[in-house]
Symmetry: C2
Subunit: 200 residues, 2 copies
DNA sequence: CATGTCGTGATACACATGTATCATGACAGT
DNA sequence: ACTGTCATGATACATGTGTATCACGACATG
C-alpha cells in the first residue's frame, strides 16, 4: 500500500490541518489526534512526519508567518501602483486587522502561539523569532520615507510612531476576536488615527 | 478537627492561589490540584468551596477585576489632587502597562482569561463582561472633559480616540509580556502618543 | 443524649494527551 | 530472488485532568 511518497506534501497537509484546527477551535485544541483526524491520516503518520508535537507546532508557525507575509505583499501591491509610503503604511496596518476570514484566522492563530510562548518561552528561541521587531523596523522606515515625501508630519518620531501603531492594531485585533467590536469598526478607528495624527 | 469555618475567607484563600499560579505559570497551569497545593489545602476542599472549576475561574476573575479597579483608583488618586482630566487619562492608560510586578501579574492573568474566552465564549456570558466597554466609555468621557478644560485638542473624536488608546496600551502590554520590549519602553511610547497627538 | 449537618480526607473513575512499541506490506537495490 | 528500508497501522503506556464517591470526626440543635 505504501509507495515512496512526497514528504513535503504530507507535511504540508498535516501542518495545514493544524492551522485549520487552530482557527476553528483554538490552538490548544490542536492535539496530535485531532490534527491527524483533520488531516485524514492516522496518529502514527503525524508522529512519523513530525516526530514530536513541538516540531509540528514550529513548522506550522513558520507556514503561518509565510502566509502573513504573502498577505502583506498582496495588500501592499493592491494599495496602489506605484506604492507610496502612505499607501504602504496603510496597507501593512490594515491587513493585520481581522476584517475577513483570512485575517481573522491569522490573528486567532497568532494569538494561540503568543499564549504558547508566554507559558513556555523556550519555544521562542528555537525559532528565528525577531519577526515583530523586523516588521516594526520596516514600518518605521516607511514612515521616514513618508516624511521625506511630505505625506507624514515631519515632527513624528518614526520608531515610536511605528511601535505605537503596531501595538494599536494588535490591540484592535484582540478586541475584534474577543467580540467587543466588528472588524470594520476596528478599521475605522485605525484609519481615524492615521488620518488625524500621522498623515498630513 | 473541623469546626465551623469562614467560607468567604477560604474562598479568598483558594481564589488567590489560582491567581498566583496564573501569574507565575499561566492560567492553563491552574489545575484544581495545582490550586489546592498552592493554597495548602486538599483537592476536596477546592471542590467543596467551588464545586466546579468554572465556578472557581469565574470567582477569581471577579477578584482580578476588583484588583485592577483598585489599582486604577489608586493611580488616579496619586496622579494629582485635584484630578484633572489630563491626569486621569494618563493614569488610567499608564497603570495598565506592565511596568511593575502588580501590573505584570494583572496583564498576564487577564491575557489567560482572554484566551479562555476565545476558546469557549460561553464563559463570557455567565459573567457581566461589558467591562472593557465601560472603561472605554469612561475614558471617552474624560477626554471630552479634557476638551472642555482645554487640555485636549478640540478636534479629536472622544470615542474613537479612547478606543484607539486602549487598544494601544493593550498591544503594548502584550509586547512587554512577550519580552519584545521593557515596560519602561512601552510607557515611553504611550507617553509620546499622549503628548504629541492628544494633549495640547 | 441523640441526630443530622458541616468540614475534610482518601481515593476512584473516566477520559484525553504525548509518546513509544510492535508488526507488516510494498518497493528498491543488489 | 533476497534483503533492507520506507510508509503505515494498531495499540500500549504513563501521566494529568475534572469530577464523583465513600467515609468519618466535630459540633449544634432538638
Amino acid at each position: 500500500m505504501a509507495t515512496r511518497v512526497d514528504h513535503e506534501e504530507r507535511r504540508t497537509q498535516i501542518a495545514e490541518a493544524l492551522l485549520r484546527i487552530a482557527d476553528t477551535q483554538g490552538l490548544q485544541s490542536a492535539s496530535m489526534r485531532a490534527v491527524a483526524a483533520e488531516a485524514g491520516v492516522s496518529l502514527r503518520l503525524v508522529q512519523y512526519y513530525f516526530t514530536t508535537k513541538e516540531a509540528l507546532l514550529l513548522d506550522a508557525l513558520a507556514r503561518l508567518q509565510s502566509q502573513l507575509q504573502a498577505r502583506m505583499n498582496t495588500w501592499i501591491g493592491a494599495a496602489g501602483t506605484p506604492p507610496t509610503p502612505r499607501s504602504v503604511v496603510t496597507a501593512i496596518l490594515s491587513c493585520i486587522v481581522p476584517t475577513d476570514a483570512e485575517s481573522s484566522r491569522i490573528a486567532r492563530t497568532y494569538n494561540g502561539y503568543y499564549t504558547l510562548v508566554l507559558s513556555d518561552p523556550d519555544v521562542l528561541e528555537k525559532h528565528g523569532a525577531a519577526q515583530p521587531a523586523i516588521l516594526e523596523g520596516f514600518l518605521a522606515k516607511q514612515i521616514r520615507a513618508g516624511q521625506q515625501a511630505g505625506d507624514v508630519a515631519a515632527d513624528k518620531d518614526p520608531e515610536l510612531t511605528a511601535a505605537g501603531l503596531l501595538a494599536m492594531v494588535n490591540g484592535l485585533g484582540s478586541s475584534v476576536l474577543g467580540g467587543q467590536r466588528s472588524g470594520e469598526d476596528a478599521l475605522a478607528i485605525l484609519r481615524y488615527y492615521l488620518e488625524t495624527t500621522l498623515f498630513t
